[in-house]
């Protein structure tokens, strides 16, 4: 699996409904979206807008009700090593050490022990956890667990990384530190990243494009390209303008739910 292979994600008419008959609930309706190589796209919207459902469909955890979804030109058929996933709940393997977790993907592919250790060392260094390689997840804080989860996803070499509100369970300080780290990592690693969040600040800080979704059923309301360069300043005037613009779009959606 080389990161150089095309990792475009193409979605056409993707919808998802749960249940049947009068209890049928439409979570997603007719989503068309293309995500380019090495692009970081944030899916943003209020709770229940189907953004996590869309991510789960790309990951292959749930099949779409209608529509097609291609990754690197091939139809998605279940989860695979070409699409790494980072969950809000960290989901580390508690019986493996930090290094063992990061080596998990390579071990599945039969990579030799020495090479696995080299890979793990590299990615643990990238997320600043070299000193904690031999600890078990139960001994780590939330922020450290999520760093391990990111290292584990990167170390498996997927062209695409799907992140489902990865920093949602962290406190505000840890959140910003990890956003900084993710932005820094993305500058060198250049993976295609789909990042689900309900934080407008987070989306403006990280994304190349922010996909604002409507509330139930989930549709794409607007796609906002963020014209800011790397190393973004959360307090710059331009940043605040983007925040305000997206905030208006999202508020309209939240208001609709309460009508």
């Amino acid at each position: 699996m080389s990161a150089a292979s095309s990792s475009r994600i193409e979605m056409q008419g993707v919808s998802k409904s749960f249940g049947a008959g009068p209890n049928r609930a439409i979570a997603l309706a007719e989503v068309d979206l293309d995500i380019e190589d090495a692009e970081l796209v944030c899916l943003l919207g209020p709770s229940g807008c189907g953004k996590s459902t869309l991510l789960n469909i790309i990951a292959g955890f749930v099949p779409p009700t209608t529509g097609t979804i291609l990754v690197g030109g091939r139809a998605v058929n279940g989860p695979g090593a070409d699409r790494g996933v980072v969950f809000q709940e960290y989901v580390l393997f508690p019986w493996l050490t930090v290094a063992g977790n990061v080596e998990f993907g390579p071990a599945l592919k039969g990579v030799e022990a020495a090479e696995r250790r080299r890979i793990a060392a590299r990615y643990l260094d990238l997320v600043g956890l070299t000193a904690h390689a031999e600890k078990y997840p139960g001994q780590l804080s939330g922020g450290m667990k999520q760093r391990v989860a990111i290292a584990r996803a990167l170390a498996n070499g997927p062209a695409i990384i799907l992140m489902d509100e990865p920093f949602g369970a962290l406190d505000a300080q840890n959140r910003e530190v990890l956003q900084d780290e993710l932005a820094r990592i993305q500058r060198t690693e250049k993976r295609t990243i789909v990042f689900v969040t309900h934080s407008i600040r987070e989306a403006v800080y990280l994304a190349d494009r922010v996909v604002v979704m409507t509330s139930a059923p989930g549709r794409i309301k607007e796609i906002v390209p963020i014209g800011l360069s790397a190393g973004r300043d959360r307090f710059s005037q331009k940043f605040t303008q983007y925040e305000a613009e997206i905030s208006r779009l999202v508020k309209a959606e939240v208001a609709k739910v309460h009508e």
Partner: protein
């Protein structure tokens, strides 16, 4: 205020408020303190026992043969030991438990893993298990004796039968209730079905499988005694029944205490193994 209350307490109750405060979730007691408490409890129990059986004699309450003091029980055990008449009974019981429990563990783990993982196996095995499980195992002991005779096979077979159920059910439950997010994470890292089983389901299920093993071990000591009551020539259960026939109450109590000690030791052994295998678990989670 609470500190004053704690200080004003005397003797036995001095540490009570802090004991109540720490409870289940609190910091563990210092090792020496916890050992002292445990030892104190055992000695206290022996003391009360000695006191009551002494009072029976002094106050002439009833025939003291019914409640011999701990020293008489110890005497009976030492006496048996000196006559080389103790070890054969301990060995017989231990051997039955080890063989019976070991077989039960092997069968229950293999069948439980298979039934947990494969719907077909589950549908084949579960009805039989669910029908047999509510029958108290002792109800089928006479059947075991009729089928395989009164020898060792009926005793070890009976332990295997009785211990199978809790260990099987724990294993099936453990396999079926592995956190689905762990499975998603592994599949996204490229795990194929057999890799999922070996690298995720098995280690994730181990803690609960161990709980099943401890339940099964407790049950093994529970049922061995009864099967040794019926048609056995040696074993600690036989010693108890033999004591009943000849009014040797100290021998009955001695054998019971030995059974307790063996059960305690077996449980400690499993816990030790558990701590080694599951050393990733934080102490608080165990």
């Amino acid at each position: 205020m609470p500190s004053v209350a704690a200080k004003s307490g005397v003797g036995l109750f001095a540490g009570l408020p802090e004991l109540m405060e720490s409870g289940v979730r609190g910091r563990p007691l210092p090792r020496r303190r916890s050992i002292a408490l445990r030892l104190g409890a055992v000695l206290g129990f022996l003391g009360v026992w000695a006191l009551i059986s002494g009072l029976v004699v002094v106050l002439d309450l009833f025939n003291p043969i019914f409640l011999p003091g701990p020293w008489l029980v110890l005497g009976a055990v030492v006496d048996l030991w000196q006559k080389d008449a103790l070890w054969p009974h301990v060995a017989a019981t231990l051997q039955r438990v080890i063989v019976g429990f070991g077989t039960g563990m092997a069968l229950a783990t293999v069948a439980g893993l298979a039934a947990g993982q494969f719907r077909v196996v589950r549908n084949l095995v579960e009805p039989a298990v669910e029908l047999l499980r509510p029958i108290p195992p002792f109800a089928v002991l006479p059947l075991f004796i009729i089928w395989v005779g009164i020898g060792e096979a009926s005793k070890t077979g009976f332990i295997t039968y009785a211990t199978f159920f809790p260990m099987f059910l724990a294993t099936v439950h453990a396999v079926r209730h592995v956190d689905p997010l762990l499975l998603r994470a592994a599949r996204s890292l490229g795990a194929r079905p057999h890799q999922l089983f070996v690298r995720v389901i098995l280690p994730a299920a181990l803690p609960e499988i161990f709980t099943g093993l401890r339940l099964g071990m407790g049950l093994a000591f529970f049922v061995i005694v009864i099967s040794e009551f019926i048609a056995a020539e040696e074993g600690l259960g036989f010693l108890i029944n033999d004591g009943r026939n000849f009014y040797l109450v100290p021998q009955m109590l001695g054998a019971a205490v030995l059974l307790g000690a063996l059960g305690y030791g077996a449980n400690a052994l499993i816990r030790l193994l558990e701590r080694r295998v599951l050393r990733w678990q934080a102490p608080g989670e165990r």
